[in-house]
Amino acid sequence: MAFLDNLINGISLGSIYAVIALGYTLVYGIAKMLNFAHGDVIMVGGYVIFTAMTSMKLNAYLSVLIAILACTVLGIIIEKVAYKPLRQATSLAVLITAIGVSYFLQNMALLIFGEKPVTFTSVIDIPKITLFDGQIVIKSETTAAIVVSVLIVVGLSLFVNKTKSGRAMLAVSEDKDAAQLMGINVNRTISLTFAIGSGLAAIAGALLCSTYPVLSNTTGAMPGIKAFVAAVFGGIGSIPGAMIGGLLIGVIEILGRAYISPQLADAIVFAVLIVVLIVKPTGILGKKVNEKV
């Protein structure tokens, strides 16, 4: 039963990674850039919820909603201020800027909230599930993480494949110039992508901080990197890939921690990434773009 427990914890963590990875993959897929500040938006989301619940005494769901809005706006601002001026620049310049934005957010949080981590109160308020006469208990946070991540994957897939804005995103992802020739406003489409990705980061922040209730200015950094690994693992740019990658990374991390070595758990995650990249460089569901001249 310990194994099942671990597996469930892994799936829970993996679902959170999946939600973060979706943000990474969406922005990479459409804007063709790695937004390394994505993890820190999670942290901002966490602090917004924390502040709304403790200082403003708002209820949990309203606080999450405010965090989603705040992060959506933050995502749009980051894109406009930091990345948009670099649309024609080399990808290295954009990458360095993204790292800069990441440090900026972390240090702003440090300045505002101090270095002492705060204790986060879970925003999830659903009953836990008990199986096998109490031998297995699925925490409410776990149920929430799994349900929310599945809903997001399904919702996002439908949005991208079935709506006009979604199809515009696919077009921009493949060929920005050709998309413009269709009358698609590329800048607005990229803005929308950042808005959605950052809104998802706020949701990930709510799930992450509810499951692991310690919040500091670097809370988002490591999960951000793991989720990036998950996105690459599943095939960056692919929505179902992010889900599969997230779940696998979460399960590998927890099982590695339980059965191999707690200290090596992170190393195992990255080792798996290296192996995957050697065997299948495009990731599990990654598409190889066929260059037809």
């Binding site: 493949e174 020739l181 269709m182 009358g183 773009v289």
Partner: protein
């Protein structure tokens, strides 16, 4: 007044000047050919026209509206469709999705449905393959898709960049037949072609571009017999 009036257009790639002050005009209902060698500035002209490239100086007037200050995504809606060089279809989307993206700026559902029928009638092969991923089409079929996609925006003028490039002779003839029929439907066509012989055969008028300048212009039927044109572009 001409439908499209290009005046003293200068365009740069960084510090390299690609267009050194070109002027020409396109009247409604005409088929105009731009011919010239590689690097003469034909594609640059079209890209500037549809807003992909910025103009340094000069003007492009379309029915009196200045296009050099208009963002690319708004130009389509004004009635100018661009069939880009190398087709640039969305390879990973289906044929139908590509055609729907062509009508991106339109909101008239019935009109879009009617135009989809029209495109299928013109290109029956696209209807047969509507659920197929566009990247799996042959070069000729991809060219048809690019043209169909452009027609889906219900343009008044259609700008085509090397539609016959890289196609087998059968497809080349087919593509030119299609251009002919598009013109018969009352569309204005601005055609850039390396296949100068075919282009001059269907065009009303033509302009010859050489390293960023227009060096020759006139009736297509005159240019096709011009000694200089014959020697440089027709391979006679």
């Amino acid at each position: 007044m001409a439908m499209l009036e290009i005046k003293d257009l200068h365009v740069y790639y960084g510090i390299i000047q690609a267009l050194k002050g070109i002027s020409f005009e396109v009247n409604e209902g005409e088929v105009i050919a731009l011919i010239g060698a590689n690097g003469a500035g034909k594609t640059t002209t079209l890209h500037t026209l549809t807003g992909i490239l910025p103009a340094k100086t000069g003007s492009i007037l379309y029915n009196g509206v200045e296009l050099t200050k208009t963002p690319a995504h708004k130009i389509v809606k004004m009635g100018i469709a661009h069939v880009p060089e190398g087709r640039r279809i969305f390879q990973q989307l289906t044929v139908l999705d590509n055609l729907k993206l062509g009508a991106f700026t339109r909101k008239d559902k019935e009109g879009i449905a009617a135009d989809l029928e029209m495109v299928y009638k013109r290109f029956p092969r696209l209807e047969e393959r509507k659920t197929q991923i566009a990247g799996t089409l042959s070069g000729g079929e991809q060219q048809m898709l690019a043209m169909g996609r452009a027609l889906m925006s219900k343009p008044k003028i259609i700008v085509m960049d090397e539609p016959s490039m890289g196609l087998s002779p059968i497809f080349v003839s087919e593509i030119f037949d299609i251009i002919e029929s598009i013109r018969k439907d009352g569309l204005t066509v601005l055609l850039v072609e390396q296949n100068a012989k075919k282009a001059l055969a269907i065009a009303d008028r033509a302009y010859v571009l050489e390293t960023g300048r227009i060096t020759l212009s006139g009736k297509a039927s005159d240019l096709i017999n011009d000694e200089k044109v014959k020697k440089a572009y027709l391979g006679d």
